[in-house]
């Protein structure tokens, strides 16, 4: 061109570069979009065919749920891909659904309970469910949750909007749960069963639980004074944490007719799990100590330690590791009625004696459609761990 610059091989004009960048960028985006659509995880093979129990005729219309925040949540059809973040929720869902087929994501601690307890044996599919959807503070990894394409997400609704709003903002359907009392567990079972389109199963389970609840309350109220003091230790290794006011553990200790030294007069004002030092536990001097399932502490850790030898619970050998069945028995769950009976027998042996092993068998039939063996019952009740403690023969076959 007359007067123009000679164009060489390396001499690209800015316009050319910009144009090709735009074109390739657009092509890349288009490829990604189609790639995402094509690469979704296939719905589980069990959907609609492999449900563990019979599907009662589900209502044709949308399902309206009111969660524990008071929000109304609409499901166009029964939920088939559910992600749970509260720790007990995964096991409860599996129990209500009698399968793990509709659970696509859970929190890590839920998975550990499945792995270490009997649920991993009854429902091996549960072990393959993704369990990295949230961290220990229940903060969700929103993109990980989205990638699972859930039609329902279960999250704590009483721990601030920070952990629940991001999920809703991403367009997910979320139910918020509240923690603390037995009524809350009843509500959870009702919510989950209705979300699955199996409302009548939830009602059946709740009625059975309520019957057990009324019975325990009646027996607990009739206990004569003095009430034994029962302390629940949530964490033992690396710093003591005990259950204070407002915890579910505090509630069932009172329910069976005991007294929690960490709440009430002489206790801490702290709510929830509170950190205390060994001296404080020695000052409270509980009659019975329960070790929770959130760390690896065992009764022999207290029996063999010089620091704890003055404790009444150690002298009387009344330190017990709480059982682990389909879920840990210490926090609230669908197996809580079994926990109340266990605690009642531990705190008041022989007054009365229940057939706890028989109860577990009938409960597991109802909950999971499964009959545990004698060895599995021993494992659930932790007979090997607790045999060194007083009155544990009553839990043997």
């Amino acid at each position: 061109m007359p007067g123009g610059r000679p164009v060489g091989a390396g001499d690209l004009s800015r316009r050319t570069v910009l144009g090709s960048a735009l074109v390739s960028g657009a092509a890349l985006l288009a490829a990604c979009a189609s790639g995402t659509a094509g690469g979704t995880p296939a719905p589980s093979a069990g959907e609609g065919t492999g449900d563990g129990g019979t599907l009662a005729a589900a209502p044709a219309g949308p399902i309206l749920l009111t969660d524990q925040r008071g929000s109304v949540v609409t499901l166009p059809r029964p939920a088939r891909r559910i992600v749970t973040i509260p720790q007990p929720a995964a096991s409860i869902l599996i129990a209500v659904d009698q399968s793990a087929d509709h659970l696509v994501g859970m929190q890590n601690a839920s998975w550990v309970a499945v792995r270490d307890g009997i649920l991993g044996t009854i429902f091996p599919a549960a072990l393959d469910v993704r369990h990295d959807v949230a961290d220990d503070t229940f903060t969700p990894n929103v993109e990980a949750v989205l990638a699972l394409q859930p039609d329902l997400v279960v999250q704590w609704g009483d721990q601030g909007s920070g952990i629940i709003a991001p999920l809703e903002n991403a367009g997910l359907t979320v139910v918020g749960l509240k923690y603390g009392t037995q009524d809350d567990v009843t509500t959870w079972i009702s919510l989950f069963s209705r979300a699955l389109g199996r409302g009548e199963r939830g009602e059946m389970l709740n009625i059975a639980t309520d019957t057990a609840y009324q019975q325990v309350i009646a027996v607990g109220k009739a206990r004569p004074a003095p009430k034994p003091t029962i302390l629940y230790i949530n964490r033992f290794v690396g710093g003591l944490k005990v259950a204070g006011t407002g915890t579910y553990n505090d509630a069932y200790i009172a329910m069976v007719g005991g007294q929690n030294p960490a709440s009430g007069p002489g206790g801490t004002s702290g709510k929830g799990m509170v950190g205390v030092d060994p001296e404080q536990v020695l000052a409270w001097d509980p009659d019975i100590v329960l070790l929770g399932n959130f760390d690896a502490a065992l009764p022999r850790d207290l029996y063999g330690s010089a620091v704890w030898r003055g404790l009444t619970a150690v002298k009387d050998k009344r330190v017990y590791k709480v059982p682990l069945g389909g879920y840990r028995w210490d926090p609230p769950s669908h197996e809580s009625p079994l926990m109340w009976r266990w605690l009642s027998m531990v705190a008041f042996p022989g007054q009365p004696t229940y057939d706890l092993r028989g109860d577990i068998v009938s409960s597991y039939g109802r909950l999971y459609g499964y009959q545990p063996s004698a060895a599995q019952l021993d494992s659930i009740l932790r007979t090997a761990t607790n045999d060194g403690s007083a009155d544990y023969q009553q839990f043997h076959a």
């Binding site: 961290d135 690396g238 702290g270 509170v274 950190g275 404080q280 760390d295 690896a296 620091v307 003055g310």
Partner: protein, 335 residues
């Protein structure tokens, strides 16, 4: 001011004994004295065995551990302030504590024993020091701002690594132990831990006290020190190694406890002056008494244990603020 040493020692003993008498389990003071005397003379304690257990097995290891760690951190602060010729440095500010806590947490996650724990804490503590030194090396000495910034960066980096480890750790067995590191606590004190801390802390402190004359000379500046005949670089590195050893021992048993290494050296310097021959031992004793007092408050004031780091920060942060204001001219001058 040589008289300061016995005064501080006496104060530490008094604080220690008083701390043994305080706690959530009610033990009358007379009984505490009886138990302690009985432990020394070998007489059996005639009273309730739980009282003896509380005093000897719950409170005594905790007081000993608090003394070792408080003294070690204070003396480390003195040495660091001399090595960097900067009043604003401490094991926490300079990132050594975070480096050591990462080393220890790594050993925990890998399931290694206590020896490896302290060793790993030492290696990563030294690494943190090395990083800060690299950042600030060259051109006739480092400005205060660069040292503090270098320390902040290093400390943040290693803290982030510890958080990463907590994410990767097994929530059942290793995670609870790691999490307690981040907060700093003497709640799980045992005689085993006292021993684990005592060896590195006392060894490191002995090295520092042995170098006390050279530290005096070092604080004159490298050129003046060389002129007097002291070789600054080997002395400085020995000093820093001793500090890393002390901090490794402290962090391995109690997690990261901040502010002690920063504030105590200044307070003691205001009392006894800058001569390290007195400053070092007195800082150890005063730091020990300080941490024992703070820990006693943490476990006594309410049924729930107050995290130690909260209390040391409540005291330390305002003191640091005052120091910053006093030194602001020097900071801006040399920034």
């Amino acid at each position: 001011m040589r008289v300061a040493v016995p005064i501080a020692a006496a104060a530490l003993v008094v604080v220690g004994v008083v701390s043994m008498a305080l706690g959530r389990y009610p033990v009358p003071v007379g009984h505490v004295v009886e138990v302690l005397v009985g432990a020394v003379t070998g007489q059996a304690y005639p009273g309730a065995p739980t009282e003896q257990d509380v005093v000897m097995l719950v409170r005594l290891p905790r007081v000993l551990l608090g003394a070792l760690i408080g003294g070690g951190l204070a003396v480390s602060g003195v040495a660091l302030q001399a090595a960097f010729r900067n009043p604003l440095v401490s094991p926490q500010v300079i990132g050594v504590s975070s480096g050591a806590s990462f080393g220890g947490a790594l050993a925990l996650v890998l399931g290694l024993g206590t020896g490896y724990l302290v060793g790993s804490a030492f290696v990563f503590g030294m690494a943190a020091l090395g990083v800060v030194f690299l950042v600030t090396a060259g051109r006739g000495g480092a400005s205060m701002l660069m040292i503090v910034l270098g320390g902040v960066v290093t400390g943040s980096f290693f803290s982030a690594l510890v958080s990463l480890l907590t994410f990767l750790a097994d929530p059942y067995s290793t995670l609870p132990t790691i999490v307690f590191w981040l907060l700093g606590s003497l709640a799980t004190a045992t005689f085993g831990k006292v021993l684990v801390a005592a060896v590195p802390v006392l060894l490191g402190t002995a090295v520092l006290v042995a170098l006390r004359w050279r530290i005096n000379v070092l604080s004159l500046g490298d050129e003046d020190a060389a002129a007097v005949g002291i070789r600054p670089r080997p002395v400085r590195w020995t000093l820093l190694s001793a500090v890393a050893l002390i901090v490794a021992g402290a962090v391995a048993v109690s997690g990261v406890i901040g502010w002690v290494g920063l504030v105590i050296p200044h307070l003691v310097r205001m009392w006894v002056g800058p001569d390290h021959r007195v400053l070092l031992p007195v800082s150890f004793l005063v730091g020990a008494a300080f941490l024992v007092t703070v820990d006693t408050l943490a476990r006594t004031v309410s049924a729930t244990e107050i995290p130690l780091g909260v209390l040391t920060a409540l005291v330390g942060a305002p003191a640091f603020f005052v120091l910053l204001r006093q030194n602001r001219d020097r900071i801006w001058d040399r920034a």
